[in-house]
């Protein structure tokens, strides 16, 4: 289960492909069904942003371990227009596409770790992690 897998995001169908990939890996790592859905939802948001704003990009998935915890690392990359003001884009309700503007801030709430790096004119990289929760 080591190593990473990558999905090319170039059309709407790929969004579904990406979230199914994320769900499968999430299941393998041992995520609770609710968390599998949360991961799939986060993937859906980020992949859709790629299609919407950058037309295409990639999304890679990796199983990660740190100490005795395990999780999933998802990195989404595109070479689109980039985000001029990231802190603005991270606010609930901010959208340049007449969307709900909940994608980025919502995903930050869904995942344990979330980071957006973007350079205008060069592209955007979104990195997110979720750890398997221990109910003990």
């Amino acid at each position: 289960m080591e190593g990473e897998t990558r999905v090319h995001i170039g059309s709407e169908i790929d969004i579904i492909e990406a979230r199914e990939r994320g769900r499968t890996i999430g299941k393998l790592v041992g995520f609770h069904p609710v968390d599998q859905t949360i991961i799939a939802t986060a993937i859906s948001e980020i992949a859709r942003n790629i299609i919407f704003f950058a037309k295409q990009g990639t999304m890679s998935f990796e199983v990660i371990a740190e100490g005795n915890r395990r999780g999933i690392l998802i990195v989404a990359k595109d070479s689109g227009p980039g985000i001029a003001d990231i802190s603005m884009a991270m606010q609930d309700g901010y959208s340049t596409s007449r969307g709900l503007g909940l994608g980025l801030p919502g995903v930050r709430r869904l995942m344990d770790e979330f980071q957006v790096i973007s350079i205008v004119g060069k592209g955007t990289t979104v990195t997110m992690k979720k750890w398997v929760a221990h109910y003990d």
Partner: protein
């Protein structure tokens, strides 16, 4: 994937079968708006039991669908949202404010029938 739309009594039922692309959702919206007008339906049920993810785009589309259906004089009920999906939706910050919801198709139909009777009485 095409979403089949069934007529049941005076209502329309859209039974989503599998994950939909954005284009599928837009097509569904157009079809529902058109059929509500054609059949003068009073209620529309959108059954989303088969959806394992509801992201912000899907929610926004469902909301605008309900809004357009309302402008055509019919009520929309969304039914079958899975517990995990509901959980992820609220964490993302998504709500279906102003739209009726029901546990499943049966409940959705019951709700619409009650509403329709009530509105007949109030006329």
């Amino acid at each position: 994937m095409e979403v089949p739309i069934l007529k049941q009594g005076g209502h329309l039922i859209a039974a989503i079968q599998a994950a939909l692309t954005d284009a599928d959702l837009i097509r569904l919206q157009d079809a529902l708006v058109e059929q509500v007008g054609r059949y003068r339906s009073k209620g529309v049920i959108i059954d989303v039991t088969a959806l394992d993810v509801m992201d912000s785009f899907a929610t926004r589309t469902l909301r605008s669908m309900a809004h357009m259906i309302k402008l055509r004089g019919a009520e929309t009920v969304i039914c079958g949202i899975q517990p995990e999906v509901a959980f992820a939706m609220v964490q993302l910050g998504l709500t279906l404010e102003g739209i009726s919801t029901a546990l499943d198709l049966e409940e959705g139909l019951a709700l619409l029938n009650r509403r329709t009777v009530n509105s007949n009485q109030s006329v």
